[in-house]
């Protein structure tokens, strides 16, 4: 039962037969009510605002088999293509509420993208590193070829500043300051900074100490237990996939 174009009534209209009237009135009303058929409407749908404080109509329309909605409160049409929204907790999926995205490590990549490290070359127990005013000291540097655009890095120092509020430990990746700790304490502590960056290709990852005193050189002391397994400072970096399975 489809749609029958209703005729126009005129003075000279021939008497409609019951077949005509059933098709044009009964069946068309049933068609619009969607009884036994999926009606094809030929224009946008406009719904009145039933809210307590109405602001305007909502309009539904279809373009190229995709539903679009114009909320008066939004002021513009927005496409509703639910099949195009991947839901879940995968790296490239969307979830609502508290959840965890767990990108997998890029273990399938080449050796170049796996973890790369460097350690502070000094092995004496209490080495002094003096940094000129407003200058920096690269404590450890690792060069890595990131296999993907998602790079992760960690820099750590076990030491203390000679003067409070002068030095900070930084993580530099690809020439960009990725993370920076607060001022280095004058009491020995383990300082770690970590972060991520959008990097790819061969990049240098640096554990750096910056002297924020623009007027004087400042020093920090390594305070580690150098041995075959323990170091004063190190930097580590690697990459992980952004599209892998969870």
């Amino acid at each position: 039962m489809g749609w029958t174009a209703p005729g126009t009534w005129t003075e000279t209209t021939p008497i409609y037969t019951e077949t005509d009237l059933n098709a044009q009135i009964r069946d068309n009303l049933a068609y619009l009510k969607a009884r036994g058929v999926v009606p094809t409407l030929e224009a946008k749908l406009s719904l009145p605002d039933k809210g307590i404080s109405p602001v305007g109509a909502v309009i539904l329309k279809v373009i190229d088999a995709v539903l679009w909605i114009r909320n008066a409160a939004d002021g513009a049409y927005a496409k509703i293509a639910t099949a195009s929204v991947p839901t879940g907790t995968g790296v490239t999926q969307v979830s609502l509420g508290s959840h965890t995205h767990a990108p997998s490590l890029d273990t399938s990549a080449t050796v170049a993208s796996s973890l790369a490290t460097d350690t502070y070359p000094v092995t004496d127990y209490s080495h002094t590193d003096t940094i000129a005013a407003s200058a920096t000291s690269d404590v450890a540097t690792a060069t890595i070829s990131f296999a993907t655009a998602r790079a992760y890095g960690l820099a750590a120092i076990r030491g203390e500043a000679a003067t409070a509020n002068t030095l900070k430990v930084q993580l530099i990746m690809g020439g960009t300051l990725i993370a920076e700790d607060g001022y280095m304490s004058t009491s020995c502590s383990l300082i770690t900074v970590s972060g991520t960056g959008a990097l790819s290709g061969s990049q240098s990852c640096i554990c750096r100490v910056k002297n924020y005193d623009s007027g004087s050189s400042r020093s920090w002391y390594s305070d580690g237990y150098p041995s075959a397994s323990e170091v004063v400072a190190f930097v580590a970096a690697g990459s992980a996939t952004t599209g892998g399975a969870v």
Binding site: W9, P48, P86
Partner: protein
Amino acid sequence: MAFTTVTTWTVGFMAIAAKLNAQLRDNLLDRKGQSGTIVYNDSITLADMDGAPVGILMIINKGGVIYLRDIGDTTDAKVSFSSIPTGTSSSTIAIGNHTH
């Protein structure tokens, strides 16, 4: 009782024809969408087309924002794009490969 001239019924029929055209034909065409945007006076209810129907779905406009009410919802669910923060910051949503 004098004879009354019999007039034609044209005028009366035309009035009826006009009403039929306006109230029947044009209303049918309006609901079909052939005269522009189909404007409703209330919300729309869609029947459950599943083989084992459990309830209807309503499409409602509240405050200029569309809401859907299905039998699984205890309250109307808002479909508001402005309420979805899009972007790549930690509290926004983005589709496809991106970095938060």
